[in-house]
């Protein structure tokens, strides 16, 4: 980084919110940097969530959440197509099991209509059963939302951030922000061992957003970290449902859902429990609650097909809505709880408009690159694969057996605009190790390819966060 360089905009945090804002800003003529404390992007809530693009009937009318969810969901579909992100608009169902819940479903319907959600329908038990045959016989009615979708959330964030990088945005990893100082009209951000000068700051720090806010401004909100655990089941269970199946929301959130993933697995969860900032453990009590609750919707879910449990932390706040506010040149984009993933591009648009209203106006570029190539061997036809291997033999060698990921795709991930540096970084970019053997077979091969491509010894390759070493050299 150039010494003494002044950035126009610094974004703190590179989860889905930071990535979407970076993408939106990269359409403009400006110097922008994203500062991330972890060793990769999409390392917080973005990588551990339900992976749902909600239709937009949940948030109360008139809230930012309502407006940005509907807008974000619309934009998400276009973006995933342009940037080659796995996305499937499969629709969602909210199940009612009694009269009180039928009232809730009716309320959600009205709310959805008011929020501008298209195609909502209330279905009877028979109508629900006809499109989702494995639902419980205790279901009495449901709300059907055809615009709800599933997405690969971390690839969504990676794609947005990568496109931003291709269009000139810088990303600084492994740099936790520890101080923000106002200096004249600008700010000085201390991040790791660097000082970054910037005219504007965007606080997209997820679960740490209250701390980051307090570095620059008087305290004004609290983040209340809230944990949700999940089951990810084998593809043998992937067709158990064909929609995102919710139960009626409660004060604690949208409840336990059962849904297919874009990779063809089945995701079941989450629970909701207030937690520590960094507590991503899945406890036995979390897991038994999820099992017990999910089978009320879909009694036949076979939890023996589990391939992974994980937990994510929601950046809930002490306010009812997203916190997107301007304070001089400092912009909070905080408390981005559910439906944050669905809202992200809407949030980005809104934030940039808010910046413009506050004097941070940047002209649009003429040459914005708004595409992203991603080779995906396992979704190709036989003919396409044959062509691909002819062009580059490395696409002919399968490394991950479960997800059929080739060496060429792994090398693409390692040399991408935001390069994969860890085994899990490779997984998040090309799905190697995501499948039923959970990297048992391909882990050693991915580690070998990473070491070879990066020209480092194998024992220096990490699994995930900084410090998560995998192997040590055998002593002779």
């Amino acid at each position: 980084m150039e010494c003494g360089k002044m950035y126009d905009v610094s974004i703190i945090g590179c989860g889905i919110t930071g990535s979407a804002i970076a993408y939106e800003l990269s359409k403009r003529k400006l110097k922008c940097v994203v500062i991330e404390k972890e060793n990769d992007v999409a390392m917080g809530a973005t990588r551990a969530n339900s992976a749902i693009i909600h239709a937009g009937y949940d948030p109360a009318e008139g809230t930012l959440m309502a407006k940005l969810n509907v807008r974000g969901a619309e934009l998400c579909k276009e973006l995933c197509e342009k940037l080659s992100v796995p996305y499937a608009q499969i629709g969602s169902l909210v199940l009612a099991f009694n009269n009180e819940e039928i009232q809730t479903v009716n309320m959600l319907y009205k709310r959805g209509v008011a929020n501008g959600v298209k195609g909502l329908k209330i279905l009877s038990y028979e109508e629900t059963k006809a499109i989702e045959p494995n639902i419980s016989k205790d279901v009495t009615a449901s709300l059907y939302a055809p615009t709800a979708a599933v997405v690969n959330p971390w690839e969504y964030a990676v794609a947005l951030a990568e496109t931003a990088v291709v269009n000139g945005v810088e990303i600084i990893l492994n740099s936790e922000v520890t101080g923000i100082r106002k200096s004249g009209d600008a700010f000085e951000i201390t991040a790791g061992n660097k000082t970054i000068k910037t005219k504007y700051v965007i606080n997209a720090a997820g679960v740490n957003a209250d701390e980051v806010h307090d570095m620059a401004l008087p305290h004004s909100f609290n983040i209340i970290p809230n944990k949700g655990a999940y089951y990810l089941l084998d593809k043998t269970e992937g067709k158990r449902v064909s929609h995102v199946v919710f139960q009626c929301p409660t004060k604690a959130g949208k409840g336990v859902l059962v849904a297919p993933t874009v990779h063809g697995n089945l995701i079941v969860g989450p629970n909701a429990i207030d937690s520590d900032l960094n507590d991503t453990s899945a406890k036995d009590t979390d897991l038994s609650f999820i099992r017990g609750t999910a089978v009320k919707s879909i009694p036949s879910v076979d939890f023996r097909a589990n391939i992974r449990n994980f937990s994510g932390i929601r950046p809930n706040s002490d306010r009812d809505d997203f916190i997107i506010e301007a304070n001089g040149g400092f912009f909070d984009v905080a408390g981005i709880k559910s439906p944050g993933l669905a809202s992200a591009p809407g949030i980005a648009e809104y934030t940039v408009r808010l910046m413009e209203e506050n004097g941070a106006y940047f002209e649009l570029k003429e040459n914005f690159i708004n595409t992203r190539e991603h080779v995906r061997f396992n979704t190709m036809s036989h003919e396409e694969r044959a062509e691909l291997v002819k062009k580059n033999p490395l696409y002919g060698r399968v490394i991950c057996r479960c997800e059929t990921v080739t060496e060429g795709e792994i090398i693409d991930a390692i040399h991408a605009p935001i390069p994969a540096r860890t085994v899990d970084g490779v997984k998040r970019r090309c799905a190697a190790g995501l499948g039923r053997c959970q990297g048992g077979f391909c882990g050693p091969r991915v580690l070998e390819i990473l070491a070879r491509e990066l020209k480092v010894p194998r024992e220096s390759i990490e699994k995930d966060r900084a410090g998560s070493y995998i192997v040590r050299r055998r002593e002779d």
Binding site: S281, D284, H382, P444, E459, S468
Partner: protein
């Protein structure tokens, strides 16, 4: 067009290909995804292989080498570094390797894909997700093939054979193996491995215990182990903490049958393998299966025997031998987990068949009973039977032909 395509070049595929060659086939291809033949044997550098098959004690690579040498003088073709992507019911095989994506056709197919290890997810161990949690086989590969150590303070969950072997191996390499923890009240591994890999190195074996928590945000920092009740639920108050940087999982093996399922072949939910006849033929005529892709074996010697039968049967098929659909079904009776084969062609020319099964209880003096309805067809005495050791009986086909359903059960002194 090949006469036979063998999917997998591990011990099962090697033995099937060699047997098919001995039985007269010339155009045989083995498709292997790894860079060399031998499969998992290549990382099993301990001895104990081949006592039955070669009447001497070999290491894994030596055992594989015997078969590779036998194949050297044959016309069997080998495609290495080649992954099979899809097998169609009409025996088209789509393969890929760096020299090209191609379809090969064969008159017959032997499925010999082996198995994979169950993971942390399969048993839902609660806790965080640090590095340092490996399947035992992955740690074995790192150590024996790549000279890399998985860690230095180790706990092993599961007393399957790979876990036991790795307890000894990690100890010999200077790691401290703190404990081997087994959920069941008995070990899942061979008795000889309990003695030679745990007792000889004073590594404690905790039966009826499990791991209830994994800790650490970067690298594994520690685990909690608790005793379990008769329903295998942890008993509060029995927790023990271990500070360790490595947890190896040896919690079972699952036959690899993604290709099999995609081809529409009938599966057995008990074995997770295809349902096979006495000649190892699957529900698709001319497609055979053998080795750990059918059911998980204890000894490679038995894999070789079974695979030789599959190879011979593939040769018969190519020569035009077809069976009538009339068959008898083998059923799992009392204390029997599964039976292989699951079906018997009544018109088979074989005089006797090999039948394999596992019990789900520990028995002392006991009997294996083969029956149909009220009629006992055969009985076999045993001094003891344990779930960790596969049972093998040989049945005369003449005594079975009249029945449509034949039950295998165990009875005797339960422990």
């Amino acid at each position: 067009m090949y006469e036979l395509a063998v999917i997998g070049g591990g011990p099962a595929g090697l033995a099937a290909a060699f047997s098919a060659y001995q039985n007269g086939l010339k155009k045989i291809v083995i498709v292997e995804r790894d860079r060399e033949l031998g499969g998992i044997l290549n990382q099993c550098i301990h001895n104990g292989f081949g006592l039955h098959r070669f009447k001497e004690e070999l290491s894994g690579p030596e055992y594989a080498h015997r078969y590779i040498e036998m194949l050297n003088d044959t016309s069997v073709e080998v495609k290495l570094d080649t992954m099979v992507i899809e097998i169609t019911p009409d025996k088209k095989i789509y393969t890929t390797n760096p020299s090209g994506y191609e379809m090969i056709e064969a008159e017959s197919i032997v499925l010999a894909m082996g198995c994979r290890e169950r993971t942390r997810g399969a048993i839902s161990i609660p806790g965080t997700r640090p590095s340092g949690v490996f399947t035992a086989g992955a740690a074995q590969r790192y150590l024996n093939m790549e000279g890399l150590m998985a860690g230095s303070r180790v706990v092993i969950l599961g007393s399957g054979d790979i876990g036991l072997i790795m307890a000894r191996r990690m100890t010999l390499e200077g790691a401290k193996v703190l404990a081997c923890v087994e959920l069941m009240p008995y070990s899942g591994g061979l008795n000889r491995n309990i003695v030679q890999c745990l007792h000889d190195y004073n590594i404690p074996l905790y039966l009826s215990h499990t791991v209830t928590e994994i800790r650490g945000t970067k690298r594994l920092e520690g685990i909690t182990v608790a005793k379990v009740d008769e329903n295998r639920r942890p008993i509060p108050g029995t927790e023990m903490n271990f500070e360790c940087d490595t947890l190896l999982l040896s919690v079972g093996l699952i036959p690899e049958n993604e290709l099999t399922r995609a081809a529409g072949i009938d599966m057995d939910a008990r074995t997770n393998g295809s349902r096979v006849y006495e000649n190892m033929e699957t529900s698709i005529g001319g497609v055979f299966a053998c080795g750990n892709a059918v059911h998980v074996h204890d000894l490679v010697d038995y894999v070789s025997d079974e695979s030789a039968r599959a190879g011979a049967a593939a040769a018969e098929y190519v020569k035009g031998v077809r069976h009538k659909s009339d068959c008898a079904l083998f059923e799992n009776g009392y204390a029997v987990t599964y039976t292989v084969p699951q079906k018997l062609h009544k018109d088979t020319k074989a005089e006797k068949i090999d039948l394999f099964f596992r019990v789900n209880k520990v028995f002392g003096k006991s009997r294996i009973i083969v029956s149909s309805g009220d009629k006992e067809i055969a009985g076999f005495k045993r001094q003891f039977m344990v779930p960790g050791e596969m049972q093998h009986i040989i049945l005369p086909v003449d005594k079975l032909r009249e029945f449509d359903s034949i039950k295998i059960s165990a009875e005797g002194e339960e422990k």
